[in-house]
Every structure is written in structure tokens, then in C-alpha cells.
């Protein structure tokens, strides 16, 4: 007998696992499940940290595991394991069936897996094409060296991270998919200090599916940007708190839309009853200048996917068109529980999370104004050049730190200010986005939510918010 004809009793990456996967799914359906999904992954990751002029950390990691999800009506049970043997996977199915207390005799039909959709064929070489640790280290050291522009810079850091994820998805609706995903990020951080004054600056860059991208990264330009930001903010005064118009810069400025509005358009929020937009489809929820998109198809963008974590190809979803709510971001459970069609947005951090409706590349579409038009339209306000992180509370209130801000006076940018926080509620702020610039740009980020931390892109052109609460001192 040829070795390739021997049926494996364990998932083997790079081989055909169809028989084993079908056997596991048949087993779950036979026990009364309405739907069975198997998600298997194999990872090969590495990260490198350069501090000052030394490499201080090199962290490779690898692992494998499976997540098995069983649906019975609208309930689901999810079991994750590191045991990829037939026995281990069947035990996980049994555990999920038992958790759901499935005892009825009604049987769904499973007709076997469809033809294998293999998105990984052209990607198998990536692991050999990504930069070596040596190459990464050299470039990071050059980049931290180029941050050393004066003696006020007291801390310099450069970091790189690479995640290579090989996945197999099989489910009882016939889905049978394989893919390889590659994400790379690189970041620079500085702390500047002079007597009692301190400031910091940071920038992060990221790509998906582009093994050569780190080599093309313009580290000198990035270092100049980070340095300039920290110097501009070093002697900045604290901003005075109050209500005022603001201009949010493009790129990472889009984090506010992502956090404050995007999450409220995920079907998980409808399931929980925590979105004010639940019954607002085809109604106006934003200013007519706002069109917002979530998609997973922009080549190389950090949130792009060939296929989502439930085996569906991602689509371009126009969420808001000229201020009118057009669509929610939906996954399998979202479709089952809310009726909104799947959008190829079922995502998870890894095998130990069940997929959920999550954003991918999310941005406000470009408008017709220049950045100067927006600033010139404000007599007193705030320009938020660089945003920090933020959060959204259970009732939709959001708070975001402004990393680099400038006062606007009589239509001109004036002094830098620190300590600003933007506070508001999506429902109230969205109608106040009255002008959108023509300079749409995207920025990578990580989004943490119900199914773990996933790679996303946020973005927008410069936008003007007519009035928002700015926290300060």
C-alpha cells in the first residue's frame, strides 16, 4: 500500500485531511448537531525588539490547535484543544454535544465536504520569503539609531512581529477551505525628556500577505515622523477642557469611527441589544457627508483576508451611504440570530476563540474638501493629528486620547497641546461630522473584542466634527 493511501489518524498540515474531517463532522451530526464546524490552525511566529542600540528580545513561537463549534438551533457550544488526533477531535465534539444537552433524534443531513478550496497554493513559499531574524535585527537597529537625533531623546525602541497562520476550515454545510495568512508589523517609539518636560511618540505600520513589505519599509521617514511628533509635544501645555469643534487627521484618526460606530454595527451588538442602530436600517444615522465602508479585500491591508474564519470570502460592505445606514457586519451566528446576511466577517484571534462578526478594513470614504478647508472653517477648536487608544462603554459612550494635538485659532494651527481626550456617543457625534477631506489613508491596528485580538485597518480622510467634548485640565 502506498503511504499516501494510509488514512491519517491526526490532522497533518500540507496533506489531504478530507476523510478525517468528514468523519468528525459525521460524528457530530450523528449525535444530533444542527451544524458542525472545525477550525484547525498551525502557527509560526516571531518577534524582535531593539532598544537603544541593542537587540534585547527575540521571541519565536509555534503552535497548533483546533476549535470545534456545534450549533443546535440558535445555541452554540465551542470546544478548543491542542490535541489534533482523531480521538482528541471526537472527544471535543462529544464535549460540545454534551454541553448543549443534545438528546433529540432529529438528524441534519451531511453530504460530505465540497471540493477543497485551497487559497494557500501560492502562499506556501512565504515562510522562506519573509526576512530572517538577522535581517530584521539589522534593520531595526538602523531604525532605532536614526531616532537618536538629539540628547532629549532618552528612550528609543523598534519592534517587529511576524505571524504566519496556516488554517483549515471544514463544516457540515460542505465548506472545506485551506489558507495561509501572513501579518507583519513594525513600530517605533521614543520618549523625550528635558528637565520636568516629557513626551512620547510612536508609529506602527503593518501589512498582510506581503512577505517583502518589511524590506520596503521606509524606516528613516518613520523615524523622522516619530521624532518630530515627540519634539512638538515636549513643551506642550495641557489643553483646556470644553466643548469645541475638532478636526481629526486621516489614517489612525479613523480609530474613533471604528470603536465608536463600527462596533455598534456588528451583529454581536444586535444580539446583546446594546446598539442604538438595531432598528435604523435605511434610516439616517450620520451626516449626509458620511459614507462608511468595511471590507476585507484591499490588497496588502492589515485587515484583508482571502477567506474569513468561517470559510466565506470577504465582501465589500457599504455600512453607511450618504448618512443612511445600509448594512450590518455579520457572521454565521449573527445571520442565525439576527437575520442579517453574512458578510465574510467571521473572525477570531486563533483556534481557542469561536468566530464572531468583526471589522476588517473599516474607513470613512473620502469627500471633496482639502485639509485646509476643514481647519480654515474653525475659529477656535482642536486639531487631533495623532490619536492614541480609546474605549467604548456598554452604553455606547466613547473616550479617546489625543496623542498629538494642536489648537486651532482663526482658521490656523497654533500651539501644541497635550492631555486631550475626546468624549462622546456615536449616535450624537455621527450627525456632527460635517466635512470630509479628500485625503483618505488607512492605518493598521489590533482590535480586541469577543473573539480575541484581530488585525484590522482603520482609516478616514481628515474629518471635521462640529462639536465634541474635549477632556483636559
Amino acid at each position: 500500500m502506498l503511504s499516501s493511501q494510509i488514512k491519517s489518524n491526526e490532522i497533518v498540515f500540507g496533506s489531504c485531511n478530507k476523510d478525517l474531517l468528514e468523519e468528525i463532522i459525521f460524528y457530530g451530526i450523528g449525535l444530533g448537531a444542527d451544524f458542525v464546524e472545525i477550525f484547525v490552525e498551525n502557527t509560526d511566529n516571531a518577534s524582535v525588539l531593539a532598544e537603544e542600540d541593542f537587540i534585547t528580545s527575540v521571541s519565536p513561537s509555534f503552535g497548533r490547535g483546533a476549535g470545534i463549534r456545534i450549533f443546535k438551533e440558535k445555541k452554540d457550544g465551542f470546544v478548543s484543544t491542542n490535541d489534533l488526533t482523531k480521538h482528541g477531535l471526537m472527544r471535543s465534539v462529544s464535549q460540545a454535544i454534551e454541553m448543549l444537552d443534545i438528546t433529540d433524534n432529529k438528524r441534519e443531513v451531511f453530504n460530505g465536504l465540497n471540493k477543497h478550496r485551497d487559497y494557500s497554493l501560492s502562499k506556501k513559499k512565504w515562510i522562506n520569503e519573509v526576512p530572517s531574524i538577522h535581517e530584521i535585527s539589522e534593520k531595526l537597529l538602523v531604525s532605532t539609531k536614526s531616532l537618536k537625533k538629539n540628547n532629549k531623546i532618552i528612550t528609543r525602541k523598534g519592534s517587529y512581529s511576524r505571524n504566519l497562520q496556516e488554517i483549515i476550515i471544514a463544516s457540515s454545510d460542505g465548506t472545506y477551505v485551506s489558507d495561509i495568512r501572513l501579518h507583519q508589523t513594525v513600530g517605533l517609539n521614543v520618549i523625550a525628556s528635558d528637565a520636568q518636560y516629557r513626551s512620547s511618540g510612536s508609529r506602527r505600520f503593518g501589512s498582510s500577505g506581503m512577505p517583502n513589505e518589511f524590506r520596503l519599509w521606509e524606516h528613516e521617514k518613520a523615524a523622522n515622523d516619530v521624532f518630530e511628533s515627540s519634539m512638538n509635544m515636549l513643551y506642550a501645555d495641557y489643553v483646556d477642557a470644553g466643548q469645541m469643534p475638532v478636526v481629526l487627521a486621516n489614517k489612525f484618526g479613523g480609530v474613533i469611527f471604528h470603536e465608536a460606530c463600527g462596533h455598534l454595527l456588528e451583529t454581536t451588538q444586535i444580539e446583546r441589544g446594546t446598539t442604538p442602530f438595531e432598528n435604523k436600517l435605511n434610516e439616517k444615522i450620520a451626516h449626509e457627508s458620511v459614507t462608511a465602508i468595511d471590507e476585507g479585500i484591499s490588497e496588502g491591508s492589515f485587515g484583508s483576508l482571502s477567506v474569513d474564519d468561517e470559510g466565506m470570502e470577504p465582501e465589500k460592505s457599504v455600512l453607511i451611504k450618504d448618512g443612511i445606514l445600509k448594512k450590518f457586519i455579520s457572521d454565521r451566528a449573527g445571520e442565525l440570530r439576527t437575520g442579517h446576511k453574512r458578510t465574510g466577517s467571521g473572525r477570531r484571534q486563533n483556534y481557542s476563540f469561536a468566530a464572531a462578526s468583526r471589522m476588517r478594513n473599516t474607513y470613512i470614504a473620502k469627500g471633496e474638501h482639502s485639509k485646509e478647508d476643514l481647519i480654515n472653517s474653525i475659529s477656535e477648536g482642536l486639531y487631533c493629528k495623532s490619536m492614541g487608544g480609546g474605549s467604548v462603554g456598554a452604553t455606547g459612550q466613547f473616550n479617546f486620547a489625543v496623542e498629538e494635538g494642536y489648537l486651532i485659532k482663526n482658521g490656523k494651527l497654533t500651539s501644541p497641546v497635550k492631555g486631550a481626550t475626546l468624549i462622546g456617543e456615536a449616535k450624537e457625534v455621527m450627525p456632527k461630522i460635517s466635512m470630509c477631506g479628500n485625503d483618505l489613508e488607512l492605518a493598521p491596528g489590533f482590535c480586541g473584542s469577543i473573539s480575541g485580538s484581530v488585525n484590522v485597518t482603520v482609516g478616514q480622510p481628515h474629518i471635521k466634527v462640529d462639536s465634541i467634548t474635549v477632556g483636559g485640565r
Binding site: F62, L100, I133, Y238, A241, T395, A401, T469
Partner: protein, 450 residues
């Protein structure tokens, strides 16, 4: 493989690869959790996880590391090989060694042994809790964020010089966040979290009561005027602030230049003499207690602030060597060993004559802002600069009345905050992150939209 067998396997594989010096940390866990939605099971989860982190020292005594979830014979061999390759890039500027305390005796707390109650029992308990919480007040319409989980895990540390430590324990957690809605008002939400060694051990009734009381207490809300206020921090919110700025006591952060302190800060006066702060991972109330850190160093109680002055820093093996002291049991195993606090205990010292003891959150009838919970810590704290600007849940006490504050932030500087502590109440409260009394601070900026 159990932890002894894994140690033997690593030792054999290291011999085979001619790696003389190695250590490893591992964790193995079985977790079970449930969520409900209006009486129905929403998601039921079980997971079995194993994580192994191996470090090896090469002939130049440089360290390399690898982390894996593959604890098969081949997985262990691959991890050792990868760690050995990574050691070529080991930090030449700062060496790492075994902790000199990795074989010292450890104190293991006596805790009640619990067994898994099972998903069905978790589900029944959570369903009942959800119903009770919704029935507790007519305005509470749902409990959108809820969960009950139990976790059973083992932590292991071993090295090539014969150190071996293993600790098994369990933990359960219940969280209930209710949403209240009233006509012509914004929805309000609040909740409660309770921990225990097992699901049977959790005080479910008090979690329901606390979530209900907190949510209802925010129903009548108002905006607050931007100004400086006298603030009373709840035990939970004060611990949040101290943890957020714990880099002040962290030797790793000091070496990295991201702390407000420096090597000479021991003895620096930060606050009123009435303030003592300890890190006490072994405290009897700390459910998440572990008797050793990632390098095998025993966990211990350490005074961080004594009578308002910095008394000690927390250390790993390498930072302790640089500071010419001993490791304190706060290391996390990694390519670059991290250092972090375990469980903060805030106390009033005996030197407390300068305190304004009339400030008591339950009796004081002047105007003040009570901060119940601070939010968005990751976004609003600049630990390296000492500044913070944080949204919070709380109330304004004025003219004998208390009203929930809608959408506001508190901003300031940690050193200013510590210097402006005007009272430390006598009675301490246990929270999920430590123990603290209520702390009063004068003149902090609040931004509201009134």
C-alpha cells in the same frame, strides 16, 4: 505527559542537542465558561490549553527562547532547537541567569480544593442569576454582558540545575453587567465581578445585589461642570490608578527609562506619611495567588511605599543583580523578562495625624466627587509621563444629595495625586485586584459637558 515527564523529556532532548543550560515555564489549563441571553444559553465554551516556554543558554551564555503549544516529543525538540538558534541574538548587554532563589522553599497557601461543577450547573446558576438581576428592578431590561467560568490550571517551573516547582489551583469568575432603560433617558449600565476558587465558592447573591444597586444608582444622572473637585476614590478605583502607575516601583521600567522613578528613588517622598503600599501576592484574599514567579523565585510580601516614601522596587533576577539586591518574585518568563506587581495592598500607616479624618464617604456632607470605577486605562494613562485622563463612573455629592455623573473624565498627574491625598479612611475593602480603603484627594480636574 505530566509536568515531571515533560521535565525529563526536555532534559533528554537538551542532552541530545548538547544544550547544557536550560529552564522552562509551563501552564496547563482546563477552562469552562457559559454566557446567557434572556434565559437562553448563548455560548458554552470549554478549552484545554498547554503552553510551554523554554529558554536555553548557548556557549557564550546568551539566552534564546521559544514558546509552543506543541508538547509532543517532536514539539519539545523543535522548541529547544529554535531557542538555541534564537540565542545567537541573545542580549549581550544584559545577561540573564537562573534565579538564586529558584530552589528556596515556597509558601503554598492552603486553599479549598474544588472540582469542576460542569457546564450544565454553570448554565443553571447563570440563568438564575440573570433572572434575579432583571427582576431586581423594573428599569433593568437586560444583562448584556454576563459570564460564569471555572478554570483549573497547573503552573510549572524547572531548570537544568534541578529546580522544580509545580502548583495547581482553580479559579472561578462571575460577571454581571446590567443595562437599565427609562423613558426619555439614556440607557445606563453597571455591574459586578466576583471571584472564587470554584463556582460553588462564589458569592452569587452579592454579585447580583451589587450589579443591581450600582446600575440603579446611575439612573438619575446629570452632566457635571468642568472644574477642580475634592475626590473620593473607591478602593477599586484607587487600586486601578496605583496599578496603572506601578512602573514607579518597577526596576525593569526604571532600567528601560519608562518609569518616573530612577535607581536613586528609594527613600523619595511621594505622599503623606499616612500612606503605606505593599505588594502581597500571597495575601489570603488573593484568589489568583501563585507561590512562585516565572523564574521560580518565591512570591512574597514586599513594602513598596512606607510612610509615604518609596521603600522597595519589584525585581526579576537580572534587574535585582543590576540593583545589587535579591529577586522579589515578580518576574514573567520571556525573551526579555518582564516584571509586574501581584496584588496591591494599601493601608493607613500609624503616622496619620495630618489626615482630614472628617472626610468619610458615608458621612461627609460637603461637595465632592465619588469615583467608583475608572475606565479606558490603556488609553488614558501615560505611565512614562505620569499623566492620566480617564473616564469614570461615579457620583457628585452636593447639598446632601448624590447624583450619577454622565460622561466625564478625571485628569491629573500621579505625583500630584499622591501628594494631595488628604484622607485615607480606616476600613479596607477587598477587590479583585487588591485591598484598599477609600482615598481622598484634593483638587483634581474633572471634565464634564454641563
Amino acid at each position: 505527559m505530566n509536568s515531571r515527564e515533560i521535565t525529563t523529556q526536555i532534559s533528554k532532548a537538551a542532552d541530545f542537542l548538547n544544550l547544557k543550560k536550560w529552564d522552562y515555564g509551563a501552564s496547563f489549563s482546563n477552562d469552562y465558561s457559559v454566557q446567557v441571553d434572556k434565559g437562553e444559553a448563548k455560548q458554552l465554551k470549554a478549552s484545554q490549553k498547554q503552553i510551554l516556554t523554554i529558554r536555553v543558554w548557548n556557549q557564550s551564555n546568551l539566552v534564546g527562547i521559544t514558546t509552543t503549544s506543541d508538547i509532543s516529543e517532536s514539539g519539545i525538540k523543535k522548541a529547544l532547537k529554535q531557542a538555541n538558534i534564537a540565542s545567537d541574538f541573545g542580549n549581550k548587554n544584559e545577561s540573564t541567569e537562573f534565579s538564586p532563589l529558584a530552589k528556596d522553599p515556597i509558601k503554598v497557601k492552603e486553599v479549598k480544593k474544588t472540582n469542576p461543577v460542569g457546564i450544565k450547573k454553570l448554565l443553571t446558576v447563570l440563568r438564575e442569576a440573570e433572572v434575579k438581576l432583571i427582576e431586581s428592578h423594573e428599569s433593568i431590561k437586560s444583562v448584556p454582558y454576563n459570564g460564569l467560568s471555572e478554570s483549573f490550571f497547573e503552573r510549572v517551573y524547572a531548570n537544568s540545575e534541578g529546580a522544580f516547582r509545580s502548583y495547581s489551583t482553580s479559579q472561578a469568575a462571575l460577571y454581571l453587567y446590567a443595562r437599565a432603560e427609562e423613558k426619555n433617558k439614556k440607557p445606563r449600565s453597571s455591574g459586578s465581578v466576583k471571584l472564587g476558587y470554584g463556582a460553588d465558592d462564589i458569592d452569587i447573591e452579592s454579585c447580583i445585589k451589587e450589579a443591581s444597586n450600582k446600575t440603579i444608582s446611575h439612573l438619575n444622572y446629570s452632566s457635571i461642570k468642568t472644574d477642580k473637585y475634592l475626590i473620593c476614590f473607591s478602593p477599586e478605583s484607587f487600586l486601578t490608578i496605583i496599578n496603572a502607575f506601578s512602573s514607579m516601583f518597577n526596576a525593569r521600567s526604571i532600567i528601560d527609562g519608562v518609569s518616573l522613578s530612577n535607581k536613586n528613588s528609594i527613600g523619595e517622598k511621594l505622599s503623606t506619611e499616612a500612606l503605606n503600599i505593599y505588594d502581597d501576592g500571597l495575601h489570603e484574599k488573593n484568589i489568583s495567588s501563585t507561590p512562585f514567579d516565572g523564574e521560580g523565585t518565591p512570591t512574597k510580601r514586599l513594602c513598596l511605599i512606607n510612610r509615604g516614601r518609596i521603600e522597595n522596587f519589584i525585581h526579576s533576577e537580572s534587574t535585582a543583580r543590576i540593583f545589587k539586591t535579591t529577586p522579589t518574585g515578580h518576574a514573567g518568563l520571556g525573551s526579555k523578562v518582564s516584571v509586574s506587581p501581584d496584588w496591591i495592598v494599601v493601608e493607613k500607616s500609624e503616622e496619620n495625624i495630618d489626615l482630614k479624618t472628617s472626610l468619610d464617604h458615608s458621612t461627609y456632607d460637603g461637595e465632592f466627587v465619588y469615583i467608583e470605577e475608572l475606565n479606558a486605562i490603556h488609553a488614558g494613562v501615560r505611565a512614562s509621563q505620569g499623566s492620566f485622563s480617564l473616564p469614570f463612573d461615579g457620583w457628585l455629592y452636593k447639598n446632601g444629595k448624590k447624583i450619577s455623573i454622565e460622561s466625564a473624565t478625571v485628569a491629573g498627574d500621579i505625583k500630584y495625586l499622591l501628594k494631595n491625598i488628604v484622607n485615607i479612611e480606616s476600613s479596607q475593602e477587598v477587590t479583585t485586584s487588591g485591598i484598599s480603603p477609600h482615598i481622598w484627594v484634593d483638587e483634581l480636574s474633572i471634565t464634564g459637558d454641563a
